[in-house]
């Protein structure tokens, strides 16, 4: 787990990509997404978890994800989000964009 002074806030605009990538593994509810995000980044990346919902609703409105009511692991009603075909396409496009961006930054850092 990352020490508190080394926790990074998620850069603006990358939340869509991270959520799409997490949902590519399978349907998940909002709390599950934030837990998975923390686990995958070894608690380095943290978001104010309330911000997840406007992001999820926006992605649903754009047709990248769909939501269905279901029952959670402890028998509570929850809404599960999953990726649509359009979401898979968007994930590929955003991954490509991110790789190009990070390699561009990397090459600038190496050259400086």
């Amino acid at each position: 787990m990352a020490p508190p002074d080394q926790i990074e806030r998620i850069p603006q605009g990358t939340l869509h990509l991270l959520v799409l990538r997490i949902l590519a593994a399978g349907p998940m509810h909002g709390h599950g997404i934030s837990r998975r995000l923390a686990a995958l980044s070894d608690d380095w990346l943290q978001l104010e978890e309330g911000s997840l919902y406007p992001c999820l609703y926006r992605m649903e409105r754009r047709g990248w994800i769909r939501s269905e009511p279901g029952v959670s692991e402890n028998n509570r009603r929850a809404r599960f989000y999953s990726l649509t075909d359009s979401g898979h396409k968007q994930l590929r496009a955003e991954q490509e964009g991110w790789r190009n961006f990070s390699s561009a930054v990397e090459s600038v850092l190496k050259g400086a």
Binding site: E49, G50, P54
Partner: protein, 284 residues
């Protein structure tokens, strides 16, 4: 039908609250399981989840559960229900009446017979004959037009209800405007007279435009379900006036028929349900 949009909007608002509560409870349960005290759990949950009011606003805006979205649902041009426009007009009448400090004067002016009123400065009854004359004429003309077009009893009654509400709102607005002009201390009689004269003309034109819009609205509704006809498309040829004249065809989405309008006339052709015919031909 009128409440469907409201129910839908409420369910969108509930959805956010339910998801938030689920998220908060799950997080709290996990923290409690790791041995933290209740007060610490509450503090951490608040810090990690953020303020609900802040994210609620953004989330409801995205999901269409905010007040603006509710207003959008009830815009008469957007809402499929034909009862939205009468409901808005009735609401406007109630608001105009309730918010008027001289509401009883407004009411007595509205129902008083021509000639009942005493001079305007005594502030007892406001003369509304001009407004009544305009709206009365429009109502009679509208009834004659509806009888001539013969589109059915249901649409005619609906159209008359709409126009009666419009007329009542028009007369109420007239009385409110005259009440306001009496309450204002005008610097000169000339200014007051000029503004009142301008108002008379503006009122006249606004009433005619409203009636024109009402007529267009009624003409574009299905006489069976009273919903707006959609998917307008042009048929015919502009150069072939005799055999295939240019006409505009709009259909009822419930399958009750199609309206065909050309330069000279407009006629509604009822159908026994063309969606059924389409479904039957598709399944063959």
């Amino acid at each position: 039908m009128l409440f469907e949009s409201l129910r839908d909007w409420q369910s969108r608002r509930r959805r956010f609250s339910e998801e938030w509560e689920f998220h908060r409870d799950q997080m709290a349960a996990e923290l409690r399981a790791s041995g933290l005290r209740q007060s610490e759990v509450r503090k951490i949950v608040r810090r990690r989840l953020g303020r609900k009011s802040r994210w609620r606003r953004a989330a409801l805006k995205e999901i269409g559960g905010d007040w603006r979205a509710l207003l959008r649902c009830y815009r008469p041009s957007r809402c499929p229900s034909p009862w939205v426009a009468p409901a808005w007009l009735a609401l406007a009448l109630v608001i105009l009446f309730v918010c008027n400090p001289l509401r009883w004067q407004m009411l007595s002016s509205f129902i008083s017979e021509p000639g009942d009123y005493v001079p305007i400065r005594k502030m007892l009854v406001i003369p509304a004959d001009f407004a009544r004359l305009i709206w009365g004429t429009l109502l009679i003309s509208a009834a004659m037009w509806l009888a001539r077009t013969g589109r059915g009893l249901r649409i005619s009654l609906y159209a008359l209800l709409l126009l009666v509400l419009l007329a009542a709102l028009g007369v109420f607005l007239w009385i409110a405007a005259i009440q306001a002009s009496i309450a204002i201390k005008w610097p000169s009689d000339l200014l007051e007279g000029s503004i009142l004269l301008g108002f008379f003309f503006a009122y006249f034109w606004a009433s005619l435009l409203t009636a024109k819009r009402w007529r267009a609205d009624v003409a574009s509704r299905c006489p069976v379900c009273l919903k707006r006809l959609r998917f307008a498309m042009t048929r015919g040829r502009s150069c072939d006036v005799l055999v295939h004249p240019l006409e505009l065809e709009s259909i009822c989405l419930e399958g009750h028929g199609a309206l065909r309008e050309d330069y000279w006339s407009s006629r509604f052709q009822p159908s026994a349900g063309f969606w059924k015919d389409l479904a039957a031909s598709g399944s063959e």
